[in-house]
Symmetry: C2
Subunit: 210 residues, 2 copies
DNA sequence: ATTTTAGTGTGATATATGTCACCCAATTAA
DNA sequence: TTAATTGGGTGACATATATCACACTAAAAT
C-alpha cells in the first residue's frame, strides 16, 4: 500500500483525515500501458486517482472512432468518475493507460460521504472539474475552428509537453487520436519536415521547431 | 429584489442560510435579448445565476468565429463564473442572452466564502460543473465525429427542445452558431425540406420530423 | 537468408464544405 | 410608391479531407 508521505506529495492540499480515509478505503491498482480503464457507456463504480504514469482521455464514437482530449497525470483525478450520487452514472469518455500506471480506486459510495466530511476533498473535486472543463473547451476550440494541420501541431505540442521532444508515435497512432486517416497525417508531417519543424524516423520523429 | 419564495422555486436544494446570503449579496440584473454577457478573455468579477430567460454559451475564435455549445436556463449557473479563488480568471467562453433575461450577479469573493459556509452551495457548484462538463462532451462528440448535416439536426433539436417546433432563426443565425456559411445551411435545410423534416418560411421554419 | 509484416510515401479520385457571384422575393425604409 | 435592405436559392469553383491503390523499405519473424 501507499505511504502517507507519498500521498502527501501527490495531493498536497488535503487535510489529515482525508489521507487516512484514502489509506483505509482506496485500493492501489496497477495497469499496463495500453489498458482500457474506462469505456463509454460503462457504469462507474469507483473513482480513479492517478498515482503513477499517464492516462489519456478520449471521446468515443459509436463506430469505433476516437478523439483524444487530454492527459491525466499523477496527483490528478478522472473527473467523470467523481460521481457524487448513487445513480448509476455511465461513462461518457474512454480512458486508456498510455504508460504503465498505478492508480487509487475508491468505491463511489465514499464520494458523497467525503464531500460531507472533508473540505479539502470538496475543493479537490471542484478543482478537478474546473480544470477538465477547461481542457474540453480547448479541445472544442481546436476542432471547431482549426484545420487538421493546426490540430496536428496542437496535438504534437501536447505530446512534447508530456513526454519530451522525441515523439514515439506512428502516423497511424496519431491518425487514430485525431479521428482521421494515416495518409492525411503522413502528408501533413511531410510538410512539417519540409518546414524543419520535425526530423522523421521510422516509428518516431523529433520536434525541433524553433 | 427577488423574494425568498422565488429563489426557493428556482434553487430548491439550497439551505436556508444560503437564500439569505443571496438576498443580501446578490444583485438582480437584467439584460435585453442579444446582449453579450461574457466575452472570451474578459476578467471574471462575478458569478451569474439565471433567474429568467435563456443564455447561450459559445466557444469563440480569435477571428470572430463562434461555436454554440449549450443553453443556460433559470435555476442554472454559468460554470465558468463560479471561480473559487481570487486569481483573476479569464473567461474562456462567450455568453449571450437569447431572450430578455434576469440574473443574479454575485461578486466572486463570496464564492470561496460560501463554499465554506454552505454545504448546499458546494453541491450546487459541483452539480453545475458536472452537467456542463457533460454538455461539452456532447459538443465534442458532434464536432469530432459528425458531418454538418447531422450537426445541424442536433442543433435544431436543441432549439426545439428549448423553444418549441417553430424555429425562429435565419439561415445566417444558424451558420454563425455552427461556424459555417449561410449557403451550407441553406442547402442542408433544403434537403431537410425535401425529406419532410421541416416546413420553411421566411425568417423561420417548422420542425415536423416524425 | 528469406519471408512476412508494419510503417511510410504518393498519385488518383471522391466527397464535404467553403467561397464567390449573382439572382429573386419579401420586408422595411424613405 | 419607390428604393433599399434582408433573407434565401443556386451554379461554379476552390480547398480540405477521405478513400483507394499500390510501391517501397526497415524491422521482425521464420
Amino acid at each position: 500500500m501507499l505511504s502517507k508521505e507519498t500521498l502527501t506529495k501527490l495531493f498536497p492540499d488535503w487535510e489529515d483525515g482525508l489521507y487516512d480515509a484514502i489509506l483505509n478505503e482506496a485500493e492501489l491498482k496497477e495497469a499496463k500501458a495500453g489498458t482500457t480503464l474506462l469505456k463509454m457507456g460503462q457504469n462507474i463504480k469507483s473513482a480513479m486517482l492517478v498515482v503513477e504514469g499517464t492516462i489519456k482521455l478520449y471521446q468515443e464514437d459509436e463506430i469505433g472512432g476516437e478523439y483524444f482530449m487530454y492527459h491525466l497525470n499523477p496527483g490528478e483525478a478522472c473527473a467523470v468518475t467523481l460521481v457524487c450520487n448513487y445513480h448509476h452514472e455511465q461513462s461518457q469518455v474512454l480512458a486508456k493507460a498510455v504508460t504503465d500506471i498505478q492508480y487509487l480506486s475508491i468505491p463511489i459510495e465514499f464520494m458523497e460521504k467525503w464531500l460531507n466530511e472533508f473540505k479539502s476533498w470538496h475543493y479537490f473535486v471542484i478543482k478537478t472539474y474546473r480544470s477538465r472543463y477547461e481542457e474540453l473547451l480547448k479541445t472544442i476550440h481546436e476542432i471547431a475552428f482549426k484545420n487538421m494541420d493546426e490540430r496536428l501541431e496542437f496535438y504534437i505540442l501536447k505530446y512534447v509537453k508530456q513526454f519530451g521532444a522525441i515523439v514515439n508515435l506512428t502516423h497511424q497512432d496519431i491518425a487514430n487520436d485525431l479521428n482521421t486517416s494515416r495518409e492525411v497525417i503522413s502528408r501533413l508531417l511531410k510538410k512539417m519536415e519540409h518546414n524543419d519543424w520535425i526530423v522523421m524516423n521510422r516509428n518516431s520523429f523529433d520536434w525541433i521547431k524553433k
